[in-house]
């Protein structure tokens, strides 16, 4: 069973609001870089970057982060040999905004923090997510949230983006 809880209009609005909130909390976009977590986080980050560009007429760098080597459910030998620094730009002294589609246990974000830190010491790291579905297993919270969607553990959240899935929207899927 699946149910669309956020349609494309609401998703657009959520991205717009996150963008305004980024400007509000950072007092502008100086030193800001966006880092999207693969796969869908990257597209979310790109859309936020487009919006920032429209408002402020200057480009914000968008990086792509693959957190696979940093996951805590990998065999130890892989986890101990993390991939090299992945971003095309240095993050030292930048205000990094980490972007993902869904915030769940927090383990992905922890891995992303590890992957990021390899590139220097950022001024700050904040987290923007399209959906916060609860059930955290680590002490991690988002700074910018598109939509809080309370879920049951067995449910799944599916974020669709046009670039990958052909349409925009967020669905709750219950396999039972």
């Amino acid at each position: 069973m699946q149910k669309e809880v956020v349609d494309s209009m609401a998703m657009k609005r959520a991205l717009t609001r996150i963008t305004y909130e980024i400007i509000e909390q950072n007092k502008g976009i100086r030193d800001i870089v966006l880092v999207g977590i693969k796969t869908r986080g990257v597209y979310v980050a790109q859309r936020i970057a487009e919006r920032l560009q429209q408002l402020e007429s200057s480009t914000v760098p968008v990086g792509e982060l693959d957190i696979t080597p940093f996951r805590d459910d990998q065999p130890l030998d892989i986890a101990l040999a993390p991939g090299k620094y992945q971003l095309a730009f240095p993050v030292a002294d930048k205000r990094v905004i980490l972007v993902d589609d869904v915030l769940f246990t927090g383990r992905t974000i922890r891995a992303a923090l590890d992957a990021l830190m390899g590139g220097g010491r950022p001024q700050s790291i904040s987290l923007a997510v399209l959906v916060d579905r609860g059930h955290r297993e680590l002490p991690i919270r988002a700074d910018f949230i598109g939509k809080n969607i309370p879920t049951a553990l067995q449910e799944r959240i599916k974020v669709s983006v046009t670039e990958v899935d052909g349409h925009d929207g967020i669905e709750i899927i219950n396999d039972n």
């Binding site: 717009t16 509000e24 007092k27 429209q54 949230i145």
Partner: protein
């Protein structure tokens, strides 16, 4: 139908046929280009003490219905049309336009060359006008001598607070002559609304513990309102999510140092494309504005321009950089007219939810 005249301050006179009330009345004349929605426009309090000329050639064809009032009682001074429909049909129709204007003691005049009139008003801007039985020197003298009040907000805004209960977020609406569409959209989103008079103080607002505050639409010139209104806006905008519409938008801009200029020609209609800057999307919305924010006076360290009119480049939306306070010049409630901008209300509701934090 009796012959009547529409006379203007500049000495011009139009011969027409009376309908509605036979009263003689005087007000500022503006023209509206909306193709439908005459009931919403006539009952919109932004047109308090004004005479509305419709450029759409036939007006009244679907009568008056229950769902389209934008205030309890209309306070316009007259309705000018090319042709008033002699038959009106619609499943929701309760009265004809003629009957309604008679009941409300508002004169109408038809058989006016509204195209010529609109061109004249585009060039001159709004001016004083009367609907009279005889267009003689006396009538023009009377018209010239009439002084129109600049206290329109005081005349139409509620003198006392009143509730519009709901089960959701707690919203305070500051009434400058609000349009029912604003309350309707808040009701759809289950908001628990308290409407306060525009004289409400910061303390009175804060004491109601609102999740958000709306500054409503209203008639007249924003500079005619007391400075206490601006102080109130400055005090609440950084504490509570704020959403301002129409006159409220102009006041929000003034409270943040921008200046308001007279707009000529004015925008009354729903045919202007408006660009949402952040997404580059084009929307249409109902507009009724005689003033606009002067873009050269905006402090860009404080305010972001969010919507721009593509016909004349006027500012249609602003947002404060440091906190969730934003405004639109047009009417996002879409009564009458396009509903493209309805989701500005959702944006407001989401801002309030965000400011409150998650519910678990």
């Amino acid at each position: 139908m009796a012959d009547r005249y529409l006379i203007l301050e500049d000495g011009s006179a139009y011969l027409g046929e009376g309908f509605g009330s036979p009263a003689v009345s005087t007000g500022e004349i503006v023209f509206n280009t909306s193709m439908t929605g005459y009931q919403e426009i006539i009952t919109n309090q932004i047109y308090h003490n004004q005479i509305i000329a419709f450029t759409q050639p036939t007006i009244g064809s679907y009568g008056i219905n229950h769902d389209s009032y934008e205030s309890i009682l209309p306070t316009v001074k007259g309705v000018v049309v090319r042709d008033v429909a002699s038959i009106s049909t619609n499943r929701q129709r309760r009265w004809s336009l003629d009957q309604y204007l008679k009941q409300q003691n508002i004169p109408g005049i038809s058989h006016i060359d509204t195209r010529h009139l609109a061109k004249q008003l585009r060039a001159s801007g709004p001016m004083k006008a009367s609907i009279v039985d005889v267009a003689d020197a006396h009538a023009f003298d009377q018209l010239g001598a009439t002084v129109l009040t600049n206290q329109q907000v005081a005349a139409v805004a509620t003198p006392k607070p009143f509730p519009n209960p709901g089960t959701g977020l707690n919203v305070v609406v500051i009434d400058f002559g609000l349009k029912h569409g604003i309350l309707r959209e808040l009701s759809k989103r289950a908001c628990n609304v308290t409407v306060l008079p525009y004289t409400a103080t910061t303390e009175e607002i804060i004491n109601l513990d609102p999740d958000g505050v709306i500054l409503s639409t209203g008639p007249g010139k924003p500079q005619d309102l007391p400075d206490s209104v601006l102080t109130m806006i400055q005090n609440i905008q950084n504490r509570i999510p704020l959403f301002a519409i129409g006159l409220g938008h102009e006041l929000f801009a003034m409270a943040n140092g921008a200046q308001i200029m007279k707009l000529s020609p004015e925008h009354h209609g729903a045919n202007h494309p408006i660009r949402e800057v952040i997404t580059n999307q084009i929307i249409y919305a109902s507009q009724g504005q005689g003033f606009a924010v002067d873009p050269t006076t905006i402090d860009r360290n404080k305010l972001i321009t969010t919507f721009v009119d593509l016909i004349d480049g006027t500012i249609q939306g602003l947002r404060y950089r440091d906190f969730p306070a934003f405004s639109v010049q047009f009417f996002p409630d879409g009564a009458p007219g396009p509903t493209d901008a309805l989701d500005v209300f959702d944006e407001f509701v989401e801002s309030m939810q965000q400011a409150r934090g998650p519910v678990w």
